[in-house]
Symmetry: C2
Subunit: 208 residues, 2 copies
């Protein structure tokens, strides 16, 4: 038997599902198996994983609210067209492609984040109920990135439109667009954090 | 001594830097230390790390070329203003904020990716020469994401501008912008892949 180094960590595993790791400082010839034994905790949520889950849930909920306000601030304009300036320039966002694009992305963001929030809440009680954990990690990571790109793209286009518009006839629409763009840009920032988190979760799973 | 399970993996480590992992199927009472021993390879570049490095380098080089062509196709227009239509609408991209933004982002992308390519080539011969490895992984990951967002934002704004412009006076500028936007959008797609790769490298370092 080769002269052993200072420490021997013995990991025993086999057909029975229970696995155990024991580390023992060895001074004699053969390793004596005592000292602290680290058994992987059986509780469903380790504290680290739970906190990552909750943070992700909160970030998605905030994004959901921001996307909702962004879409609402554009849509609100359609019901009350300003009577005094009912000129050819309709004051509905639908007649401007840039605002339509911004509205569409806000709605997509709202639908996606509300589904994620719903799944996140379900996961707290029984994990992996709707979609399996690995699949949900992949979907979250990919869609977080895609919706981030859509949000930054639609905000930029809407900002360019706002800079071009200075007619009084659609002043209300312009103000509403400013509110909508700032909401969707903040949603982009929050979703970027959420994207980093889902990337981290994916890596954790990928690395195991 | 507790009756041992089917497999025992013994990791021996100590003051001497050399560490070794040996796994042995155990039928008798005490673990016999034989079977395959995995010693961390001493060669500077493990084959997996080298391929990740080379792929990253190639992706950055492609992005550099695409950003260069994108900026060039806009700049080329400035030297040869079309004499026939020297009307108030100057045919230089500089007079349109959207194209100026697109040009600026293409130049930023070009400078960033050429620095990264230069560092990547230096790293092949002597690793971590300019910036330490961990710092360079963090910088790569953050800047890849930021420049991705800038590229998708500037492409969207330029696309919105192209849709609005249909005056003949600036037809050449419009065509050049179409070339520029398609180059910068492809640069965005390639840099997204590179961003995934640097995220993977960062996770590998973060997880060790």
């Amino acid at each position: 038997m080769k002269e052993l180094k200072d420490h021997v960590v013995v990991i025993t595993y086999g057909p029975s599902s229970e696995a155990s790791v024991t580390a023992s400082p060895v001074s004699q010839q053969t390793p004596s198996l005592f000292a602290y034994s680290v058994t992987p905790s059986a509780s469903r949520f380790s504290s680290r994983r739970a906190s990552v889950h909750v943070i992700g849930l909160v970030l998605r909920f905030i994004t959901m609210v921001l996307c909702f306000v962004s879409a609402l601030s554009l849509a609100v304009n359609v019901q009350r067209p300003s009577k005094r300036h009912l000129t050819q320039n309709s004051s509905s966002f639908a007649s401007y492609p840039e605002l339509l694009y911004c509205f569409g992305v806000a709605v997509i963001g709202f639908v996606y984040t509300s589904l994620q929030t719903f799944k996140g809440v379900c996961d707290i009680t029984h994990r992996g109920v709707l979609i399996s954990e690995p699949l949900s990690d992949y979907i979250s990571f990919i869609f977080d990135q895609v919706i981030c790109y859509l949000l930054v793209s639609s905000s930029s286009v809407a900002i360019a439109w706002i800079q071009h518009i200075n007619e009084d006839a659609i002043k209300t629409l312009r103000n509403n667009s400013i509110v909508s763009v700032s909401m969707s840009f903040s949603a982009f920032l929050v979703l970027t954090l959420s994207g980093l988190l889902s990337g981290y979760k994916l890596c954790k799973r990928f690395m195991w």
